[in-house]
Amino acid sequence: MNALLDGILAVLEPTVMLCMGAGVIIGMLVGMFPGITATMAVALASGFTMTLDPVQGLAVLLTIYVAANFGDRIPSILINTPGTPASIATTFDGYPMAKNGRAGLALIVSALVSAIGIIASMVLFAFASVPLAQLALKFGPSEMFAVVILAMTIMISISSKSIAKGLLAGVIGLTIATIGRDPITGDARFTFGIRDLNGGLDFIAVIIGLFGIAELFDQLLTHRQFKIKPISALGRWWPTKSEYKQIVKPTGIAGLVGLVVGIIPGAGGDIAGLLGWDRAKAASKNKAEYGKGSIEGIAASDVASSATLGGSLTTTMALGIPGDSVMAVMIGSMIVWGIQPGPSLFVNQPSLVVTITAIMVLATLITLAINLVRMPMMVKLLDMPVHYIWATVLVFCLVGTYATTNNMFTVIVMLVFGVIGVILKRSGIPASPIVLGLILGPLAESNLRRSLLIDGPAGLVGKPISATLISLALIAIVVSLAAPIIARRRAKQAAAAPTN
């Protein structure tokens, strides 16, 4: 009881509140800027927080982490450009909603479910970190491989128009993912002697190119200028009662997916968002709406990816193993402050665990409140003439991408993928499976090969977790391939029925 009180009182100190204020501002700005990630912001801020008290420092860093997660959704919804991979799935329904004049609704729903996701994951963090962290350790290479394979099956369900074109895009993504150094032997592959290709294609540059820049180029190339405005109107802000009811189920399902994925080390908000969206779609009555501006879709993708935050904190604090790249930077800072993450942290410093939970929850509530209140200001921003908006987007994308590596090559990669994106768009090939292939391909390859190195082929089928997940993936493939065939047959029967 004392630990609880001490932990909460530590957060209510004025200096700590001030630190959280700074964190919210930095985090929201960083999140909105495509290309600039929370990791970079936290890494740079940690230089300044080193001299602060641990609680003050944690307040700045954790708040940036939370606020960036909210800000991240905004460019996905408004300009079809995910700020980080975690909001790729947000573009599936967020941008179509914005195009249908429902951007306001998309932003509010996204903010609400993100808050639900983070808070739910923090409840788990506060009460079950140590046992959950033990579960996380069960995920070795073969289990990770199985998770990634399951995530890859989503390529089918996001290719709503043509499965063939969707899979073609997926193969393109997997192919370009092999550029760079072999993960096991370190040999160069498809680098053509170009030094900058040794590290592989920077996926943030590819994402911004394929989504944001391609959209922009497409608009500029359209002869009837700006026929489709980026965001014509924000529309209604708040969901109606029936819409609230509609999002309960997808939020629940995808939230659970996000909580589970969050615990798995190495699988973050990107995989959670995609899997959450896919599972919610599979369980929905309005499957056809998904990907065309479904309010259920945006609720599912954003609750799932936000629910991973508590999971990465869990592995970070309870094992000392960073759950994601932001947490890797955090561990560095915590060690300097003399906080040693690990199971003993929960025994020796329970009040600190309470403080961390309190900071995360409070940061979520503050960011949510700001998100809900300052939306009208964004309306004014979007009243600007369309060419100003596109010019701003282009500058943001260029600067943000350059900032990821301080290297012009990354900007060139982004622009090249902008051109490729336009060509694909006009051939009806979707961009999302390419990004999926690019992100999941290396994870699948390296984990498969590690697993084969350790146990040989037996490791994949002999372990209960990986065997179950691979079976689920096989079922998902069969079901999604069979569904259209069955539907077509039913339609044929229905068409045939009246004549009989």
Partner: protein
């Protein structure tokens, strides 16, 4: 109207900034008279970045000019190395030179050690071999003996790293059947050992210290000359009869051809900064040890390391 004022303001600020910049650029007297750029080959947040920022901020105090740390990650560090090599050799561009300086030329990168001026080694992060708490092995020789009869897997942070090289060399010199398993970074490699997915892990002291303190990992050996303060009671490999030293060391370098007087100023500043308590306080909690070598000593050390890695990575 409003846009007009904003535009005017922007121009005014930009003009002021350029005046300030040119003013400092013209003042060319004793080194250093303007800001120094410190290039880091890794993204913000890791051990290289932490060490670089710590040494840069101490050198700043000593030299009296600002040192701007710039992260240029990519291609095992060679993007940053090539960038530094192309800069004017005036001492205003320096960088962090990691153990990859001895490795990349052996794994197909276009890299020439003669392209650089070596200013001094500042740190070393020794490699350790650790096993899960429930592992049957308690000493390095028990582990090696077991590996001589059956295949044991040892995770590490990535292919062609100092950590992978440790496992390879251990296998080669003892005839043990060790399968090095590269992961994507030190943390997942340690997690694989904690979860019993591999038999052991070779990792940096910083990545294993937490689990060692909690008793979830047993550290069998340290591949260094001396015992490590973070691992009380753990013997070095040499003390256990295996004379092997491996570490992720690092120092400060610049482009080739830095004039002798400038080089001397930088070397002296680095030596002083590397010995300050603030620098030590910034690096030691992460398991990194101070390890100073002069520019010339470091250059010779890199040559011997490179020859050793050429043998291992063949």
């Amino acid at each position: 109207m409003k846009t007009g004022t904003l535009f005017a303001k922007t121009i005014a600020i930009a003009a002021l900034a350029s005046v300030a910049f040119t003013a400092s650029a013209f003042a060319q007297d004793a080194f250093p008279s303007k800001d120094i750029t410190f290039v880091v080959q890794a993204a913000a947040g890791g051990a290289s970045d932490r060490t670089s920022r710590a040494i840069a901020s101490e050198m700043e105090k000593d030299l009296g000019v600002s040192i701007i740390v710039e992260n240029r990650p990519g291609a095992t560090g060679t993007v940053a190395f090539a960038h530094v090599a192309e800069q004017p050799a005036d001492g205003y561009t320096i960088g962090f030179g990691p153990v990859e300086f001895a490795i990349v030329e052996n794994i197909g990168y276009d890299f020439d050690r003669a392209d650089f001026t070596y200013l001094g080694q500042i740190m070393n992060s020794p490699v350790v071999l650790a096993v899960p708490a429930n592992s049957p092995y308690n000493t390095l020789s028990e582990f090696i003996e077991a590996a001589q009869t059956k295949e044991l897997s040892v995770s590490n942070s990535g292919a062609a790293s100092a950590f992978a090289a440790t496992a390879f060399t251990l296998a080669k010199t003892t005839g043990a059947k060790i399968t090095p398993v590269p992961f994507d970074g030190g943390a997942p490699a340690v997690a694989a050992a904690l979860g019993n997915h591999v038999d052991a892990v070779t990792a940096g002291a910083g990545e294993t210290a937490t689990a060692f303190a909690d008793g979830t990992l047993k550290v069998l050996a340290i591949f260094a000359d001396e015992e490590h303060p973070r691992f009380p009671g753990v013997k070095t490999a040499k003390e256990q009869g295996y004379d092997l030293q491996f570490g992720a060391w690092g120092g400060v370098y610049g482009p080739a051809g830095i004039p002798d007087d400038v080089k001397a100023t930088l070397e002296a500043s680095i030596k002083k900064a590397a010995a300050t308590q603030t620098f030590l306080d910034a690096i030691t909690p992460a398991g990194i040890l101070p390890a100073y070598r002069t520019g010339a000593e470091w250059e010779a050390f890199i040559a011997t390391e490179a020859a050793r890695y050429a043998e291992i990575l063949k």
